[in-house]
């Protein structure tokens, strides 16, 4: 229990740091922060809306710590202000419509690439030095270092533009209305294939190499020999003795990799014109919609912190030593 409270406290502190960053950034830039943040908004927003927006970000009369407290208060009430480019919608509304699409992409691609990468990595470590290992492992490493930008552009060009197998953008066809019908779900699946394959290709290598290297280090341990000596079969030793322990560092590195996964998803969405958070961030940047950009940074931070917390929980389930202490 103490462990969880400590972790929660840490994540809270990390969140406050991200908020502080958001608070200080416009104030550190040369020139008038109000001018920088809301230069685009004067024409679209009315004076009352402008005042509300200023208050949300703590641009009020008074010393800086007071401004800071006002800003923190609005963040913890989850009031992220009004979107300048999507006025009159609030940042919350705009993010709410985009979030499910990103969750779909990030969730599915992470699940698939974690399982696939771990399985292949376990097998590569088990047969280390063999044909499979000496082809797949370096290949995984090379694939991991190809950025999502490049892979997405190439996939889009070859499979969508040249071959025409998949649509070149959007999350579902224009002729479908969002509903739980077969046609709509099929359309969503068809549109998600290319972004998903791209993301899985980018991620799978990292998981594969991590677990392979962990596993190779473990396979020299005595308890592995012990398992064999007891006469257990290959699969039992491989999964119950080797893989279960090799997974532990993978869970930690998964938490660390989550930021990269989100980053990859953001960029993939932009290239495939997929209506998730990445696409929204891109639009926000182009429109200089600073409240939206800052809100997105906060929500992505919260998502990352939540993923890390889940990784902590999984770790406790996997490692009985932590439960006892």
């Amino acid at each position: 229990m103490y462990f969880f409270l400590r972790r929660l406290g840490f994540y809270l502190a990390a969140f406050v740091v991200a908020c502080t960053f958001n608070f200080l950034l416009p104030r550190m830039m040369p020139g008038d922060p109000v001018q920088i943040m809301f230069a685009q908004s004067g024409s679209t927003l009315g004076p009352e809306a402008m005042d509300a927006l200023r208050a949300t970000f703590g641009f009020v009369e008074g010393p800086i710590w007071q401004q800071y407290l006002i800003y923190l208060k609005s963040v913890f009430n989850w009031d992220l202000g009004l979107s300048v480019s999507f006025y009159p919608f609030s940042v919350n509304d705009v993010i709410g419509t985009a979030l499910p699409w990103t969750l779909l992409l990030v969730g599915l691609s992470t699940l698939i690439s974690f399982s696939l990468g771990s399985l292949l990595g376990i097998y590569a470590a088990w047969r280390r030095g063999g044909l499979f290992d000496s082809i797949v492992s370096p290949l995984a490493l090379v694939m991991q270092s190809i950025p999502a930008v490049v892979l997405s552009i190439l996939a889009l060009f070859v499979f969508a533009v040249m071959l025409g197998w998949f649509p070149v953008g959007r999350a579902y066809g224009l002729d479908h209305d969002p509903a739980w019908s077969f046609a709509f779900v099929a359309s969503v699946a068809h549109h998600a294939v290319l972004p998903l394959i791209t993301l899985i290709t980018v991620q799978v290598g990292g998981f594969l190499v991590t677990i392979r290297n962990n596993m190779i280090n473990l396979l020299g341990e005595d308890y592995i020999n012990m398992g064999r000596a007891k006469g257990l079969g290959d699969t039992a030793v491989m999964f119950r003795y080797g893989a279960r322990n090799a997974l532990l560092p993978s869970v930690t590195s998964f938490a660390m990799a989550f930021g990269f996964i989100v980053a990859g998803s953001l960029i993939t969405e932009v290239i495939f014109n997929y209506p998730g958070l990445g696409r929204l961030l891109f639009n926000g940047i182009n429109a200089r919609d600073y409240p939206l950009i800052q809100g997105l940074l906060l929500i992505i931070t919260v998502a990352t912190l939540a993923a890390n917390f889940i990784a902590d929980l999984v770790y406790v389930v996997l490692d009985p030593r932590l439960r006892r202490s």
């Binding site: 990390a14 490049v150 060009f157 280090n217």
Partner: protein, 299 residues
């Protein structure tokens, strides 16, 4: 030096990695002398396919893709290696200090590292770049360098903690060696492979991140770099009108450079950790081991 040569002879990943990276470095240094057109000038018709005078074709604006490619190599490599150096230096400094001094210093630095680790890096960079506006390569290098050190710091701290209780460090302390000398002479040499891996990993990350930032339109569109090439190609819808040459050159370059650096890292990892070295045993040894264990041994 002879060790390096023998490593290169034994390890094909190191060989290929060095070849690719060295090729790009040479291209960045000498390439611009062989590119006859100025990269930002209009020197031909828009979207001309590759031919004898424009080796990689022209852009929508009629600029020579090959010149942009080799001049861009300079910018991209400079940002990559510069940011990689800052990241590695900061990570090593923070990691070693935290691991060596322990106590309050460690608690503070570890907290800082963990916070920097869980705040997603790319969105943070995008917000920073958006506020700065038309970020130049130098600015991009600095913001990547100063926000991406946490992973290295964490790994290096763990390694320093392990080294700190070894006999040779205690011996140096008992001899009354000054702290800076213990860190510099006793501990740092044992961290070389980890720092090296961190450096190369950071260079990969910086090259990719620069391309991403610029592709999203946060760079200065008048600069010449691979990311800006991608941005301009996107803006002119090069792929949709079939001008694949405008996109392919920077894409292949970024992917190839990343692959070369990754192979180099794989090789360093194998050198530092002998267990990861997986040479095939010769046939006689394999047969004997098979006879001993009663099973076929593939490793």
């Amino acid at each position: 030096m002879s060790i390096l040569i023998s490593i290169l002879r034994q390890n094909w990943k190191a060989r290929l990695g060095v070849l690719i990276v060295l090729g790009f470095v040479l291209l960045a240094i000498f390439g611009p002398w062989f590119a006859e057109f100025a990269p930002e000038r209009r020197v031909g018709l828009p979207h001309q396919p590759p031919d004898g005078s424009h080796w990689l074709g022209t852009t929508r604006m009629g600029q020579d893709v090959f010149s942009q490619f080799v001049h861009g190599a300079r910018t991209s490599l400079a940002v990559g290696f510069g940011a990689g150096f800052i990241v590695a230096a900061l990570g090593t400094l923070i990691g070693v200090v935290a691991g060596y001094f322990r106590g309050k210093v460690d608690e503070f630095l570890t907290f800082l590292t963990n916070v920097a680790l869980v705040i997603p890096n790319l969105p943070l960079l995008l917000v920073l770049a958006a506020f700065i506006g038309s970020a130049s390569p130098l600015v991009i290098m600095l913001i990547i360098g100063f926000t991406s050190w946490s992973w290295g710091a964490r790994v290096i701290r763990a390694q320093t903690l392990a080294l700190r209780d070894r006999e040779f460090v205690h011996a140096a302390e008992l001899l009354g060696e000054p702290r800076w000398r213990i860190i510099g002479v006793e501990i740092l040499p044992n961290l070389v492979s980890i720092v090296g891996i961190n450096f190369i990993g950071s260079v990969i990350y910086a090259v990719l991140t620069q391309a991403t930032i610029e592709y999203l339109g946060l760079g200065n569109p008048l600069d010449v770099s691979w990311g800006i090439m991608l941005y301009n190609a996107q803006n002119s819808a090069a792929l949709y009108v079939g001008a694949w040459w405008e996109v392919l050159a920077p894409c292949v370059a970024i992917a190839l450079l990343g692959a070369g650096l990754a192979l180099l890292n794989f090789a360093i990892d194998e050198m530092a950790n002998p267990r990861l070295r997986t040479y095939r045993l010769n046939r006689r040894v394999r047969q004997r081991m098979a006879a001993l264990s009663g099973k076929e041994v593939s490793a």
